[in-house]
Subunit: 254 residues, 2 copies
């Protein structure tokens, strides 16, 4: 077990950089915070690079820490832990995880959620959590969507990224794979030019594309889907929040 | 039309205080930002106390500003507008609105959403927006929930508070009114001790209680409802986000 007491330590400086997307992309690592999430990561077989904890964390999770590879453990001072934490009240434990991304899948079975340029981290995280709850097979993150390894997305996902595959990919290419395999793929529109979602039946295998908060799904993708659907607005609101809409649709389709 | 160029002006100082709940409660006023929301407030008949705009706002919405009571208009410097704004990029216009709250209703027709101690402003705002979209009759905010006049809730509601009544009330008392009028009222539980929501039929009149993000609906309320319902979790997620769950249930019941 290592011990690091100064936030000027080179390793701590490297970890701190992981708050930026650029460093996460380069090092293929990200930081998660709080015992519950770290336990989920470990149980799911995620490759843990480091587990950092202060005196409080050591006292609280002593038994669990004994089950970890001692070479991965770093005891740190409160100063170091606080310098790495993104929470107003740090829990006393955080971990550096190595990304483990499948960049393609052999086949698409079950329900798949595809995110086209969804920008709000809370929305992206909540949709992945909902996909997990609704029993979908996985989520595909298209270009332009929020980075799923940012602290805000990680917090909103509540560990669902350890329960189902979350893949980055080119949505236009993936849409073609669905079509070639005769799996229905639904685009979502914000207007009544599409079909009421209640008229679409449940399906064993399907893709559902949710789009940008302001612009919706891109017109190029909408032109190639099996069917475009919408959720009727019965009151005077202009639209639904995209994560709420995704929840209604996934629970209807699955 | 007034003109205020210094953020030390006493009126500006008073308006700035409205960022705090205490001042909003005392003065029965709140601030909204951005043209779209202000236009909705005006169209809905909200009582506007002041409309403040800088040079950019004046240029952009000159025609609309001419339709407003000139005694309510205040031209302000960029410095004043920025000091009042809560946005990273202020739009150049904001308004002070007088609260107009019904504290009770003669009768409960249609669907009603009741919020028991929902704390996240984004969740509260999103649920009110969804209630509007799903065609509910109104929303009742129980004690302990986020203040609907905070900037975060106002932003997430996207003007839905001008489309349907949003009332503050004591949920235990209101639950009794539903029961006396033989209107079904549904509590939501986070576990399978309740009934699967798909087994509950659509209803013309109903109440739906959503609870705190961590604890759910309080046990005292759950003990008095007509029926408690839950949304099945098919994957490994522990629960759904409360705003997503509310969306699925409101669209199912309405």
């Amino acid at each position: 077990m290592k011990e690091i007491l100064s936030s000027k330590n080179p390793l701590i400086k490297e970890i701190k950089k992981l708050h930026k997307k650029k460093a996460r992309d380069e090092k293929k690592q990200y930081v998660i915070e709080g015992f519950h999430l770290i336990e989920e990561a470990k149980n799911s077989g995620a490759i843990i690079e480091w587990i950092l904890f202060n005196q409080r964390g050591q006292a609280e999770w002593a038994n669990w820490l004994e089950t970890c590879d001692p070479e991965k453990l770093i005891f740190v001072s409160d100063e170091v832990l606080n310098s790495l934490s993104d929470l107003p009240t740090p829990q006393g434990i955080l971990a550096v995880i190595n990304k483990n991304e499948a960049d393609h899948l052999a086949e698409f079975r079950g329900g798949w959620l595809l995110l086209d340029n969804v920008q709000d981290p809370g929305n992206v995280g909540t949709m992945i959590r909902t996909a997990d709850a609704a029993g979908l097979a996985g989520v595909i993150i298209g270009e332009g969507s929020a980075d799923i390894y940012s602290t805000k997305v990680l917090r909103a996902m509540q560990g669902s990224n350890y329960h189902l595959p979350v893949i980055h990919g080119n949505l236009a290419d993936i849409l073609q794979q669905f079509i070639q395999n005769q799996i229905p793929i639904y685009g979502t529109e914000l207007n009544e030019q599409a079909v009421d979602y209640l008229k679409v039946n449940k399906a064993e295998n399907y893709g559902l594309i949710m789009g940008n908060e302001g612009q919706g799904v891109s017109a190029t993708l909408l032109a190639q889907t099996t069917q475009n659907i919408y959720i009727p607005i019965r009151g005077q609101a202009e639209s639904l929040n995209v994560a709420v809409a995704a929840g209604i649709l996934m629970y209807h389709l699955s």
